[in-house]
Amino acid sequence: MKKVKALILRTAGTNCDFETQIAFELCGAQAEKVHVNALLEKKDKIFEYDIMAFPGGFSYGDDIASGKILANEVKSKLGDKIKKFALSGRPIIGVCNGFQVLVKMGLLPEPSLFEQISTLSYNDSGKFECRWVYLKTLKTQAGKNQASTNCLWTQKLPDIITLPVAHAEGKFIAKDKNLIDELEKNGQIVFKYCAQDGNIARYPLDPNGSTDQIAAICNKKGNVFGLMPHPERYVYSLQHPSREGYDGEHGWGKAIFQNAVNYVK
């Protein structure tokens, strides 16, 4: 059986790299934390991996804006490699600060475009928001104007899951309304914040005021996935406030990482 290799890119201020590594290893992958400087010394090393993760944290102290400096650094020095990796169909995930990096370098919503056309801005509250939230998984919500998502990371999830959020800049904003319509039509909106019963969430369950309560998006192909909530913080049921898990032992975060590992296998 092939051993799936995951690269977890870290830099100054990254702080969710260990949990992300544990999440991938729990799913049977061999996960390696690689500092951005090490990758810059050997850029083609990236193609030794099957999956790439941009973990959460406060890269470069969130200076200027969250994820901005790492996004610029990766794009200007590794841009062609990252784009090739994404277009090859290999799974890429950006969690929280990693999502901000993917959006600000333009790998999301569309790596072939590789241009920033959306952003994650300051929460409406102006504060750091940290709590468990409910997420509507859009894969089962396909309707007249909305395609079912191709996101390989979220296959077979139930209609509503719960994950923790912890961010100050998580308000998803697209460059215009047409882009939101496009994302919806292409099935690129993966999670929306919702109430416990699936209805529209209000603050604090909608932690940031995102356009259409968007919490996660993917590219058209479904291999590049960015989300503000932290799946790596809910891989065991013991991490949940009520000790809930989908199989008694594991949380929904594990199902997300497992999907990518199984996809590569």
Binding site: Y60, G61, I64, A65, K68, N72, T119, D124, G126, I173
Partner: protein
């Protein structure tokens, strides 16, 4: 030296300005009608105007939600009226500017210096990062001083100026 000011575009919420406005109300200070916020970077060194504009557009601002203003300024103008405020000043608009004191490590500025090199602008620059709060309403100097010291500046490490 270039002075780069970053503020919210018209159609986007100025979250930090709104927050400060709300906190001023909580302090019990009357007369403030609105507060708007700008991040300010002063960059000195051997860069030209095009490079300064690239730094502003590609690094210091968010293309979707923020607008930039790039102006030249003499280093000696550090304590005078900012360019962006010239012509706006009147009895109903004041400006409070906050920067680190000399000798205090400006970590954001250090990140800017690193990130400018990442952009491919391989020049030696000096940078400083600060904040501007435009306060609308007829407010006394003592109230502005109160706002600056209680809300906007940690006077142990930061200095503020009221214009």
């Amino acid at each position: 030296m270039y002075e780069i000011e970053i503020s919210s575009k018209k159609d986007f919420k100025d979250v930090r300005g709104l927050n400060i406005f709300s906190e001023i109300s909580e302090l019990g200070i009357k007369g403030v009608e609105k507060v708007t916020y700008s991040q300010v970077y002063k960059i000195a060194g051997d860069i030209n105007s095009l490079e300064a504009k690239t730094i502003a557009a590609e690094l210091l601002s968010d293309k979707i939600t923020e607008k930039t203003s790039v102006k030249t300024a003499e280093p000696s103008e550090c304590c005078s009226l900012p360019n962006s405020f010239a012509g706006l000043q009147n009895q109903s608009l004041s400006l409070i500017e906050v920067f680190y004191k000399k000798g205090v490590t400006d970590t954001v500025a250090e990140s800017v210096i690193k990130a400018v090199k990442d952009l491919g602008i391989n020049k030696d620059i000096k940078a400083s990062a600060g904040h501007r709060y435009y306060v609308y309403g007829k407010i006394s100097q003592s109230a502005l001083k109160n706002i600056a010291e209680k809300l906007l500046a940690n006077t142990l490490i930061q200095e503020y100026k009221i214009f």
